[in-house]
């Protein structure tokens, strides 16, 4: 047999192909992204550790003797709020809760979006048509108003119900994104190849197609986290946010709505606003670096 003797693999630099590894490797060359990741990591670390260390009573208990203390007074580094609680502690736990909510909503919407989007995009046809009409319809719903109605309706409103409510209006964008990505992946022959190899549909959808849009999913996830923290903030401003014993960046920034506090006690809301800014910027920078990483892999 005249076997072809070409055995040396072409020496294209071996790009690790799993979405995550690509990303890490690409990020290493992106100074902005490294800074962003470090910032996000620091914030996460501080808030998670802080969340464990800071006793719940410190966040709840009012001490009106100590209220509205300016930063530095009585050992409160960032001052105290109108209940006399330490802003720094409140901020740390608030950030943890906000991030928690942002992440949870992102997880839920992403999972929903992935399942629905992949199914619709993969099977196409009437299923896709129906799903897309539903998505369109949800897009038409005035989200903010619907959220407000639901917040009012649910009996025992807490962080979990907030997460579920925000999620129920946040999955459409992801679904659309995933669906269109899946549509374009479905055109690729590896899907046809898997079908002819006898692979069942669910395996193709989640085992073959999904890994190929993983960087997209990661990026969307990261950006969704940032976006959802913003939604929570807006709700708090309107008075439909979390109960006072569940601090969040939103409830803190909403202090800015109190006319007496916005200028006279800026330490009550400004640190939260700045933290939100830094957090959003970093998450976005990270998300964009992810997107760039994904793109650059596609180019090679």
């Amino acid at each position: 047999m005249d076997k072809v003797s070409d055995t040396e693999a072409v020496t294209i630099p071996a790009n690790p192909p799993s979405g995550f590894k690509v990303v890490l490797r690409e990020l290493r060359h992106d100074k902005g992204a490294i800074v962003a990741v470090v910032v996000v990591a620091l914030i996460l670390l501080t808030t998670i550790i802080g969340g464990f260390v800071i006793p719940h009573s410190d966040l709840v208990d009012a001490n009106i003797l100590d209220r509205l203390g300016a930063p530095g007074v009585n050992g409160h580094i960032l001052g105290t709020d109108s209940s006399g609680r330490d802003i720094l502690k409140y901020l740390i736990v608030g950030a943890r809760n906000s991030i928690g909510i942002g992440v949870s909503v992102a997880v839920i919407t992403e999972v929903l979006g992935i399942i629905i989007g992949i199914t619709a995009g993969y099977f196409g046809g009437i299923l896709d048509e129906v799903v897309m009409r539903v998505v369109d319809f949800f897009m038409v719903l005035p989200t903010l108003l619907m959220i407000i109605i639901l917040v009012t309706i649910v009996p025992n409103f807490n962080a979990l119900s907030l997460i579920l409510i925000i999620s129920s209006f946040g999955w459409m964008g992801t679904t659309r994104l995933i669906r269109s990505a899946v549509l374009s992946q479905s055109e690729r022959d590896y899907v046809a190849a898997a079908k002819t190899s006898g692979t069942p549909s669910w395996k193709i959808m989640f085992g073959e197609v999904m890994p190929n849009i993983s960087s997209l999913i990661i990026t969307d996830f990261v950006l969704a986290v940032a976006g959802n923290i913003g939604v929570e903030t807006g709700l708090s401003y309107l008075g439909f946010g979390l109960p006072p014993d569940t601090p969040s960046l939103g409830t803190m920034i909403a202090y800015a709505n109190d006319p007496d506090l916005i200028l006279n006690s800026p330490w009550m809301w400004l640190p939260a606003a700045l933290l939100l800014l830094v957090l959003t910027l970093s998450i976005n920078a990270f998300g964009n670096a992810l997107r760039r990483a994904a793109d650059s892999r596609q180019r090679t």
């Binding site: 005249d2 070409d6 020496t11 294209i12």
Partner: protein, 335 residues
């Protein structure tokens, strides 16, 4: 060498290097080439051999931040290498026309066909709008578009692949440039349309007496249309000569291997000839030795030149490296 008055382009020691990471690597190395009036010069070679890089260097479309070009590209005593943008813009479209491979991508999706062709005229002629439109209609007719008036107002997506390629050609020849560069103009097309387009190119050349650089990897296309052929391998020209010389007396092992691996070649064997190994990529093609040596390992190293140069074996027929002298196919040796 052709007579200088017939000569349109004289490329001397051209090196084009791309930045990969922090270093520059030659994708085109020490290419010497001339183009004359009234001729079609074909450049053939496998993917990655540097054909497009060479053509792009001539028309000056490389992004100079990532590309380093040295050597000379002489056009009418003007050296195009390092020419400033304003001057180059006067030459592009007017003196050098370019035809690209993918006719859909090459056309602006938002502009009407008439406008896209007219744009060339706008920057190189003093024609007014009416005259330009008139000329565009004329060009559309010239490239064999059945209903120029309608097509004039259409958008690229409304045309078939063959029509689009004709439009791209019309753009390239709008100012009757003496030099035309066609980079794989028919690769995306069906054979029947390919034949039409190639005929069209020939006709245009006969009318305008231009010189055409035709880039392709299809040997059949070369054999049917070219006057002279340059065979590229790994960034270098390995053989150059008239089309008869190349197809009837190919010398360089690479040229011979290529011809032999064509299915059409009526060889008795049921199997096609296969060249061992693969074309090296940019980073791995950088060597002073004969770059093809790795793919004909049965030829002893001594057969290759230390620093291969072009040898003129007969007037106008050049071959790189001396290995051609002792080259034989693997099976022939065994036979």
């Amino acid at each position: 060498m052709d007579k200088p008055e017939n000569q349109l382009l004289d490329i001397q020691h051209l090196h084009t290097a791309f930045r990969v990471g922090d270093d520059f690597y030659d994708a085109v190395e020490d290419v010497n080439l001339t183009l004359n009036r009234d001729e079609i010069l074909a450049i053939v070679g496998e993917s990655g051999s540097g054909k497009s890089t060479l053509a792009t260097s001539v028309i000056g479309l490389h992004n100079l931040q990532n590309t380093k070009i040295t050597g000379d590209i002489l056009y009418n005593d003007l050296n195009l290498v390092g020419l400033n943008e304003t001057l180059y813009n006067r030459i592009r479209g007017n003196d050098i026309g370019m035809i690209f491979q993918d006719p859909l991508a090459a056309l602006n999706p938002l502009m009407r066909i008439g406008e896209q062709i007219g744009e060339t005229l706008l920057y190189h002629t003093k024609l007014n709008k009416e005259e330009r439109d008139h000329r565009v209609l004329e060009l559309l007719g010239q490239v064999g578009i059945p209903n120029p008036v309608r097509v004039f107002k259409q958008y690229p997506h409304e045309l078939s692949g063959g029509m689009r390629q004709r439009v791209v050609i019309a753009i390239a020849i709008a100012c009757k440039p003496p030099i035309l560069i066609a980079d794989e103009p028919t690769t995306a097309l069906d054979v029947t349309i390919q034949a039409q387009i190639l005929d069209l190119l020939e006709n245009i050349q006969q009318e305008t007496h231009s010189g055409i650089i035709l880039i392709t990897h299809d040997l059949g296309v070369v054999a049917e249309t070219a006057d002279r052929v340059a065979v590229m391998y790994a960034g270098q020209i390995v053989e150059q000569g008239t089309v008869q010389a190349i197809f009837e007396h190919p010398l360089h092992p690479y040229t011979r291997s290529l011809l032999r691996s064509m299915p059409q070649a009526d060889n008795d064997s049921d199997d096609l000839y296969v060249i061992e190994g693969t074309v090296p990529d940019l980073k791995h093609m950088q060597t002073d030795d004969c770059r093809f040596a790795a793919r004909i390992p049965w030829i002893p190293a001594s057969a290759h030149e230390a620093h291969p140069t072009m040898h003129e074996v007969e007037p106008g027929h050049f071959v790189r490296c001396t290995c051609y002298k002792t080259f034989h196919f693997n099976d022939e040796a065994e036979a």
